[in-house]
């Protein structure tokens, strides 16, 4: 089976400084993977490199197609667009230059909205949505291209617990047929809900199912903390 996303020896620089070095990873359909690491570890850069938005210093990226829900919210929420217009904007390249959307395009928009359970709100202006609903619009916009891998960059920022749990269920469901990679700072929830974890700090420090990542040392290296850190206790890696 071909991987949904494969990175081999990827290196990337930003502003002349090295950010990623020797990144190897492989994601397959059916896997919900968490990307963990401290601020500045290169999580966002890794996703942007997978999308071809960051020039590679070295290595290769191969992916069928990638859907992206960015961390930096540049979305203009006060734009006079409905939910379905916003999702349709994900198809702008597929529709093609100088062309108008056809029935088939709208059908895939509606299918994506049904999948994120916003089918009833498709005509609502985007400015009148809650934070959790907005995040689901962005997920639908990524899904509308039927990507083999869905990249979610810190999708829970600023959301309350119920919204986070609804989204987590949604991501788990999406991961049944696609690969999902989610950057997050909620380590315990990630260890609980995800099939695999990738610990990143400039490079992949460790990767595998949560049960295989019980060595406190790899967590200390990734997050640059000492053996007395709360982080290790919260993850149940050392005795309290």
């Amino acid at each position: 089976m071909t991987a949904a996303l494969q990175m081999t020896g990827v290196a990337a620089d930003l502003g002349g400084r090295p950010v990623l070095r020797d990144v190897d990873l492989r994601l397959d359909a059916g896997e919900f993977t968490a990307l963990l690491g401290p601020n500045g570890a290169g999580k966002t850069t890794l996703m942007r490199a997978a999308l071809g938005l960051v020039p590679l210093r070295g290595g290769t990226v191969s992916t069928g197609s990638a859907g992206y829900v960015p961390q930096r919210h540049e979305f203009t929420w006060d734009f006079p667009a409905s939910v379905q217009d916003a999702v349709l904007s994900g198809l702008v390249r597929r529709i093609g230059l100088f062309r108008r959307p056809k029935v088939a395009h709208w059908q895939s928009v509606w299918a994506a909205l049904d999948q994120v359970k916003l089918g009833d709100l498709r005509k609502r202006p985007v400015g009148e949505l809650s934070g959790g609903q907005r995040q689901r619009v962005l997920v639908a916009r990524a899904l509308v291209l039927e990507p083999s891998v869905l990249l979610l960059d810190e999708p829970f920022t600023g959301l309350d617990m119920p919204a986070q749990e609804t989204l987590t269920d949604l991501f788990t469901e999406i991961a049944r047929e696609r690969a999902v990679l989610m950057a997050t700072h909620d380590l315990t929830a990630a260890a609980y809900t995800c099939d695999r974890l990738i610990l990143l700090n400039r490079t992949v420090i460790a990767a595998g199912p949560p049960a295989d990542l019980k060595d406190p040392e790899i967590w200390m290296r990734t997050f640059d903390v000492g053996p007395g850190s709360h982080l290790l206790k919260a993850l149940d890696l050392v005795g309290a």
Binding site: L51, L53, Y68, P70, R72, E74, F75, T76, F79, P80, A81, S82, D85, A86, L88, S89, G90, V92, R93, I95, L97, F98, R100, P101, P125, G127, R141
Partner: protein, 282 residues
């Protein structure tokens, strides 16, 4: 003066400049209204301001050498649009201050150039505040052709402009050529501004770009409706403003802008869902 008298004056062959001025004011208001929707939604009013300032040296040079004002302004404006696009891509630069410095300098250059022309105070006033006389017939064709080109471009690139305005990062991720779309949009803004500068004047043209679109935004949550309302409001106010200015002998640019401002305030009070009256009533 009654509207009938105005209509009679419009058809009076001795006052041939009047229908010409009206046509140009209405066509440039339509262009500015449509393009202004993107200006307002992207929060880039400063682009309109920059372009309005920067076309001035082009107009001044054309005036000095008796060349085509429209052509001079367009060339200067497109050079500006190119510079703005290049500057605006680099997010580390504080774009508004760079542009502020640069374009006030361009404006100053225009003043210095035009001071070399005979009767300079009068022509300066015309440039700054607009005038309805002295428009050559040729300009009618230029403005008409430009209107068609601008509207056609907006129509053809609509969904790309929407995607870039909604979310630049995502537009880039989808593989849209954000730089070229930005440049295209700034060129459209430039053309709309340059066509309007003669009648409305350099200082007031920003209102034609921003006010109708902002008014339309108050009245609707749907982009197609906004892009139909804004040019209608702009054109209506241009017509009413010119009528008022003609009847009471008021400066045309100022009267059109004040009419637009009146429409904006009215919409602010009466808008169906978000207006003051609607909010007080609920």
């Amino acid at each position: 003066m009654s509207p009938w008298q105005f209509l009679a004056d419009l058809t009076n062959p001795d006052l041939a400049f009047l229908p010409k001025a009206l046509t140009i004011a209405v066509l440039s208001a339509i262009m500015c209204g449509v393009v202004g929707c993107y200006v307002v939604l992207r929060g880039m009013a400063f682009i309109g301001d920059a372009v309005a300032h920067a076309v001035f040296p082009g107009l001044a040079i054309a005036f000095l050498f008796s060349g085509s004002l429209v052509l001079g302004g367009t060339i200067a404006g497109i050079v500006t649009a190119l510079l703005v696009t290049v500057f605006a891509q680099n997010r580390r630069l504080k774009e508004d201050s760079v542009i502020g410095i640069f374009f006030v300098a361009a404006f100053a250059l225009g003043i210095v150039i035009i001071s070399r022309a005979p009767g300079y105070a009068g022509s300066l006033q015309q440039f700054l505040f607009g005038s309805i006389t002295g428009i050559p017939d040729r300009d009618l064709y230029v403005v008409g052709g430009t209107t068609i080109a601008v509207l056609l471009t907006v129509f053809l690139l609509h969904k790309e402009f929407v995607a870039v305005t909604l979310d630049r990062e995502m537009a880039r991720a989808l593989g849209l050529r954000v730089f070229w779309l930005d440049l295209m949009l700034y060129v459209l803004v430039t053309l709309a501004v340059v066509m309007a500068v003669q009648t409305i004047g350099n200082i007031l043209v920003l209102a034609l770009l921003v006010t109708p679109a902002a008014t339309a935004r108050l009245l609707t949550d749907r982009l197609p409706a906004m892009m139909a309302l804004a040019p209608a409001i702009g054109a209506g106010c241009a017509l009413i403003g010119l009528y008022l200015s003609w009847s009471w002998d008021l400066p045309v640019g100022g009267t059109i802008v004040l009419t637009l401002t009146g429409a904006f305030l009215l919409a602010h009070l009466l808008a169906p869902r978000h207006g003051l009256v609607a909010r007080l009533a609920t």
